[in-house]
Symmetry: C2
Subunit: 122 residues, 2 copies
DNA sequence: TTGTATGCAAAGCGTTTGCAGTGAT
DNA sequence: ATCACTGCAAACGCTTTGCATACAA
């Protein structure tokens, strides 16, 4: 039976508040505002549980650790700012990719990451 | 002064032969065919040197460690087979992405990764 | 001969796991 | 009162670094 702890609520809340994918470290720092003394292991354990429950989604960025965001935002991509290292959601998509795949390859999904500077860093 | 060791030649050669991005571990195993006893640290050190020299390029895949490929293949993307975990080059591109970026964001580059099954695994 | 490059082993770093104690139910 | 969850610390896998030796120049 799954329990609704202060820690789990804090993690979920800070992901909702952020509105963008957060790294485990970012989650820890944000959630420690609500639950001082929270440990990093707790963040990882809850991420795993929430992933399996489908509450959150992993954003597998090129070049490093995964970030996590609240699930249910539909198909979208990400913009990675090289200034502040933040990741933003991009609710646009070039569309059908099947024609890009080599002949005989079966396309199942795709991920697109844009790089540049966000409006603040520019 | 940069030296042309057997190890470095072996690493470069196996990347050329593979024709697709290899992980450090894959490079080690391939290069040990030419230079038995080669260490993993040597692979990492040469990767770093060759990256800085612009001889190879890092392929920063979502979800884990980087792979490396011979530089100079022009702008391209990658197809990641979930069956054999191999990565293939895709010499096609959806084109202009600027319109996808949020207003006020400055787009500099993009990476596209396709997922699915390669012709062998399908 | 010189000093970069190597192999090994130890150290880092982010993530995962074991364990005894805590707290939601 | 249970037993899932927590914090801590140790373990883990991948990458990097320190050091003495080997070898390309």
């Amino acid at each position: 039976m799954e329990r609704n702890t202060r820690q789990r609520k804090a993690i979920q809340q800070c992901l909702v508040d952020a509105g963008r994918p957060l790294s485990p470290q970012e989650i820890l720092e944000a959630a420690q505002g609500a639950v001082p003394g929270m440990g990093l292991a707790t963040v990882y354990r809850n991420i795993k549980i929430m992933l399996e429950a489908g509450d959150i989604a992993a954003v597998a960025l090129p070049g490093g650790g995964d970030r996590y965001e609240i699930a249910g935002h539909g198909h979208h991509h990400h913009f990675h700012c090289r200034g502040c290292d933040r990741v933003y959601e991009v609710h646009a998509c070039p569309g059908d990719m099947q024609k890009l795949a080599p002949d005989g390859f079966q396309l199942e999904s795709h991920e697109l990451t844009l790089y540049g500077l966000c409006s603040q860093c520019r």
